[in-house]
Every structure is written in structure tokens, then in C-alpha cells.
């Protein structure tokens, strides 16, 4: 069985963000890039599935500038993935990304299960998994915290609102977008890292996919830093004075009660 995992490289949360002079993006110099945290759950679940299904293979796939995106693929290989593919492109939106991923998954022979994270923490779009499923004409479930494959059926738990869950059954193949809680991602082992170094990453130029330029549907402009918050007002005194002052402030000054 073939299992695909779609991952994205994102700036580490601790990284300082600098906006480019054209206000359309961020300066990638000096940024620490990591695998999107939700994608780590996706990789782990794919590896677990492979372990339970002898003869299976895990392929990781990413869209990004290969010069850096390859690092995230190496990490996934070091965790245990079998094969890795990068679609070399920069600045694609969710729609164009999903189309490219679907195209490559199709030409690589398809998959029984395709995992991804439920969203990427850079633009929080939460769109690529559903779009990719639509382009492949297969079902999807997002925000998944439990996964089980039984013959042709994929049974997952989807986290919804207010702590509720849905148990969803899909006919394979399907796209499964991981939430936190699905598993605990493993660390790459030293032998894994050594092995990953020797593997070749397949590189596909986005332009060779011949996808329409009109796949680009949204663009970002006018990027700004968020407005500075005014300095905190510390409320002092004994606890009785503090709580009464706080309630007064919330009611009369902030007007949120």
C-alpha cells in the first residue's frame, strides 16, 4: 500500500518576522524553518500505518523552494519515510499548491491514504487538504485525532466544536488532515539521519506540470506588523483591592462586561 504525506516548511514560531519592502511577504533571511507542527502528526501516523501494513511505503511530498524545503523532507526521511519528492516552486497559494500536489500524487500512481496537517501555522489557511481531495475526487476528513484503517474503510475521529467529536467513515483512498492528539511524533534516530542523507530527493519543477497560471487565486499585499498594544496596567494593593479595581476597570474603562 502506498501512503502519501504532504508537508510544508514554515517559520518556527520563535522566529522574528521581517516584512519585505514590497509588503508582499517576509524576508526569509535569518528565519529558522521547521516542519509545520501538524504535519509531524501526519508523518507519524503514516509511519504507524506502514508498520501495521507490511509491504507499505511512505512517500513525503512538499511544495516549496527546493533549496530549503529539502531540509524538511530530509527530516521526514530521517523519521522513517521511504521516498521524498519536492515540487520546486515559491509563492503558490493554497489552490495552486493543492492542484500541484494532486497532480503529482496522481502521476506517481496514487495512494490509499494521504495524510497532511489540518493547517499550516504560517497562513492558517486550512485549505490544501480539502482542495487536494477535491482535485483527486476522493473524500477527506480534517481535524483528525484518531485514525484506523479496516480493509477499504478509513475510520477517523474528527474534533469539532465544544469538545465534541464525530466518528467518520470514508471509503479509501481518502485525505486525512491531522490534529494534535492524533499521536506523539517520534524523533529522528541517529541511524535514521545517516540513512536519510544518502537518499535522493526527487525534484519536480512546478512549471513542468503545465498547470494553468490562473490556479493562483489569492495574493497577499500590504503586510504590516500588528499594532503595538498600550503598556499593561498593573493593578496593585491587597487581593480585595485588586479584584474590585479590576472589575471596575473591565466595566467602566474597557467596557467588556
Amino acid at each position: 500500500m502506498k501512503i502519501f504525506v504532504c508537508i510544508k516548511q514554515v517559520p518556527d514560531t520563535e522566529t522574528k518576522i521581517k516584512i519585505t519592502p514590497d509588503l508582499k511577504g517576509i524576508d526569509s533571511a535569518g528565519i529558522k524553518w521547521v516542519i509545520n507542527p501538524y504535519d509531524e502528526y501526519a508523518i507519524e501516523e503514516a509511519l504507524k500505518l506502514r508498520e501495521s501494513q507490511p509491504g507499505s511505503q511512505v512517500w513525503v511530498l512538499t511544495v516549496g523552494p527546493k533549496s530549503r524545503a529539502n531540509d524538511s523532507l530530509r527530516t521526514a526521511l530521517a523519521m522513517g519515510a521511504d521516498e521524498a519528492i519536492v515540487i520546486n516552486a515559491d509563492g503558490l497559494d493554497s489552490f495552486a499548491t493543492a492542484k500541484a500536489l494532486a497532480e503529482v500524487i496522481r502521476t506517481e500512481g496514487g495512494a490509499q491514504v494521504i495524510f497532511s496537517g489540518k493547517l499550516a501555522i504560517d497562513d492558517n489557511a486550512a485549505s490544501v487538504p480539502q482542495m487536494m481531495a477535491e482535485f483527486l475526487n476522493i473524500p477527506h476528513t480534517t481535524v483528525v485525532s484518531k485514525f484506523h484503517l479496516a480493509a477499504e474503510n478509513i475510520v477517523v475521529e474528527r474534533d469539532t466544536e465544544g469538545g465534541s467529536k464525530e466518528v467518520v467513515q470514508m471509503m479509501a483512498p481518502a485525505v486525512v488532515a491531522a490534529n494534535k492528539g492524533l499521536n506523539l511524533p517520534r524523533y529522528a534516530s541517529l541511524p535514521g539521519i545517516m540513512k536519510a542523507k544518502k537518499k535522493t530527493i526527487k525534484e519536480i519543477e512546478y512549471s513542468t506540470l503545465n498547470l494553468p497560471a490562473a490556479d493562483q487565486k489569492v495574493s497577499y499585499t500590504g503586510m504590516t506588523l500588528p499594532a503595538e498594544k498600550p503598556a499593561v496596567k498593573m493593578i496593585t494593593g491587597d487581593s480585595v483591592a485588586q479584584v474590585s479595581e479590576l472589575v471596575k476597570m473591565l466595566r467602566d474603562e474597557a467596557k467588556v462586561l
Binding site: A126, E161, Q169, Y220, V243, V247, V256
Partner: protein
């Protein structure tokens, strides 16, 4: 000028506040607003939609849509979109909205702006802004190559003012288009909480490791009850198993934007701030005057949560009774 389709969500027939926000934004833009409602509800939802600005109400009242199924929802909504032919679609960045609309955008070969916090509609054009990089930047989203522009808005971002929307409206009843389903909802396990979801809550009381143990959350629940608030948590306490992960706020939890966020015994790690720094007013209660949370807070109290919170609960009770 094209129509604006608002996908109106409801809980047991009561319109969600987030949907009312969208209806008002549509109405205030001067465009005609067509609301679409799925599932079982009472007839009064039509007048609620009218009063909030919809001049056209499209109803698909069918029990099959009481729970969310991506395939069934997509097929039926796309069929209704075909009839309405809107220029713009507004929906909430809710559990359903976030799952459904990217699929719809893909099928309609059009663009989507998700997780937005402001909206600028002018005729058939719309731009929206959204936080990026964990709230470290704000960007304007522009559409291109998009016959229909789909915008998903976070809750509690748009004003609800009284509007003069109570004109009569056209009501169109649609019937279910069955589709060949490869997705089946086997079971719905209801959460224990009757409260609003964190992503929609107007007030959130959140607890961290400073509460010492799981039982420390009892006093937060009491405080939340008085305020009508939803309780959230830091990852540290979720990972310790004190509370369920549906309650986690932050980078790998929920992104929230209430009017009031009260952080109790939470240090303010960047991954936590990533999920709540969009809150209008932030109150931090922490025993350590140097805790980073104070740098993001509107009001700060240095003190022991176990001493402050019960007193604060009593004080709110008094204030809210007057």
C-alpha cells in the same frame, strides 16, 4: 452589483452570532444579501435572517443536513450557489466553514480567503485582512482569477449594530440533492460542555500550570459560570491530562479572539500568545511579576490564583447583579 451569499449557521434553529455578523456586513455593503440555511429549524429563523439584512432566504430543511457531511453539504450548497449566482460568499471560519469552503472553492475553480479578521466590500469586489505567522503580521488578501470570492471570517470580528433590515423577503425552499456518498458520519460524541466553543466565545477564562493540578480548574469553571465564559487552557495542562485538548489555546490549539481573555497561571509562551493575542482585552493573573504574559496584557495582577480567583468570582457576581 452581484449578490452576497451568507452561509448562515445555527444551533438548534438559533442563528449563531458569527453568522449575524456576516449578514450585517453584507447588508451594510449595499449589496443584496441571500442567506442559505441547512438542516432542521423553526420558521422564526426566516424572520431572524430578514431582520439581520437578508432579502432572500434559501432554506434546505432536511434532517440529513443536521450533522455535517462534507460531500452532502458541498453538493447541495453548490447547487444552490448555481441558482443564486453570488459575486461574494461570506461564511464563518467555524468547524464546518473551514472544512467545507475550500472544497467548494476547488470545485468552483475559485479563490478563498480564510481565517479573516476584517472585510472591505465594494460592489463585486472584496478584500479581507488576516493575521499571519502566529499574529506577527497582518496581510491583505486580494482575489484574482476568482469568479466568486469566498471569505471565511473569524467570529467576534465584525460589529453588530441595529440595522433596518426588516423588509419582507423572498423565501426559496430547496430540496435535498442526494449524492453518492463515500463519507458517512457514524456517530457524534457530544462534548460535556454546553458553552460556546472557544473560537466563538466572547469571554474566555484560561488556566495554566499555575493552577497546580486538575482540580484547580474547578475555580475557573465557577468564574466562567458567573461570566458566561468558556474555559480554555495552556498546552502544558492539556499535555498533563488535566483537561481535554479541545480546550487548548495557541499554536497547536485553537486561535481565539474574544472581547475578554483572562489568563490565570499561564506564563505567556509565544506558542500560547499565538492563539490569543488577537483578544480585545487581556487580563493576566500570575504570581511572577516577570511572566511574559504581562507584556501582552491590558490589565495585570501579580498574585496567587488561589487567593485571587474566588474573590474575583464574588466581585463579578456583585457587579453583574447590579
Amino acid at each position: 452589483m452581484g449578490k452576497i451569499l451568507v452561509f448562515a449557521e445555527h444551533t438548534n434553529g438559533k442563528l449563531k452570532r458569527s453568522s449575524i455578523e456576516l449578514l450585517h456586513a453584507g447588508f451594510n455593503s449595499g449589496n443584496e444579501v441571500a442567506a442559505v440555511v441547512f438542516g432542521t429549524h423553526g420558521d422564526d429563523i426566516v424572520s431572524a435572517l430578514n431582520q439581520n439584512g437578508a432579502s432572500e432566504v434559501h432554506i434546505l430543511k432536511d434532517g440529513a443536513l443536521d450533522s455535517y457531511n462534507p460531500e452532502l453539504y458541498a453538493t447541495n450548497l453548490i447547487s444552490i450557489i448555481g441558482k443564486i449566482q453570488p459575486a461574494i460568499i461570506l461564511a464563518s471560519a467555524s468547524s464546518v466553514g473551514k472544512d467545507l469552503f475550500p472544497k467548494i472553492a476547488a470545485r468552483l475553480n475559485t479563490g478563498i480567503a480564510s481565517d479573516c479578521v476584517s472585510l472591505n466590500i465594494s460592489g463585486d469586489n472584496v478584500t479581507a485582512t488576516k493575521p499571519m505567522y502566529s499574529g506577527k503580521a497582518i496581510a491583505t488578501v486580494n482575489f484574482e482569477n476568482s469568479p466568486i470570492k469566498i471569505v471565511l471570517m473569524r467570529a467576534n470580528q465584525l460589529p453588530i449594530e441595529s440595522i433596518d433590515g426588516a423588509k419582507s423577503s423572498k423565501v426559496v425552499e430547496h430540496s435535498l440533492v442526494a449524492s453518492d456518498l463515500r463519507t458517512m458520519i457514524k456517530e457524534i460524541v457530544k462534548g460535556t460542555s454546553e458553552k460556546l466553543d472557544l473560537t466563538e466565545a466572547n469571554i474566555i477564562v484560561s488556566g495554566g500550570r499555575g493552577l497546580k493540578e486538575a482540580s484547580g480548574f474547578q475555580m475557573l469553571n465557577d468564574l466562567a459560570d458567573v461570566l458566561g465564559a468558556t474555559v480554555g487552557a495552556s498546552r502544558a495542562v492539556v499535555d498533563s491530562g488535566w483537561v481535554g485538548h479541545g480546550m487548548q489555546v495557541g499554536q497547536t490549539g485553537k486561535t481565539v479572539a474574544p472581547s475578554l481573555y483572562i489568563a490565570v497561571g499561564i506564563s505567556g509562551a509565544i506558542q500560547h500568545l499565538a492563539g490569543m493575542s488577537g483578544s480585545k482585552v487581556i487580563v493576566a493573573i500570575n504570581s511572577d511579576a516577570n511572566a511574559p504574559i504581562f507584556q501582552k496584557a491590558t490589565y495585570g495582577i501579580v498574585g496567587d490564583a488561589f487567593e485571587i480567583i474566588p474573590k474575583l468570582t464574588e466581585e463579578f457576581k456583585k457587579a453583574l447583579h447590579n
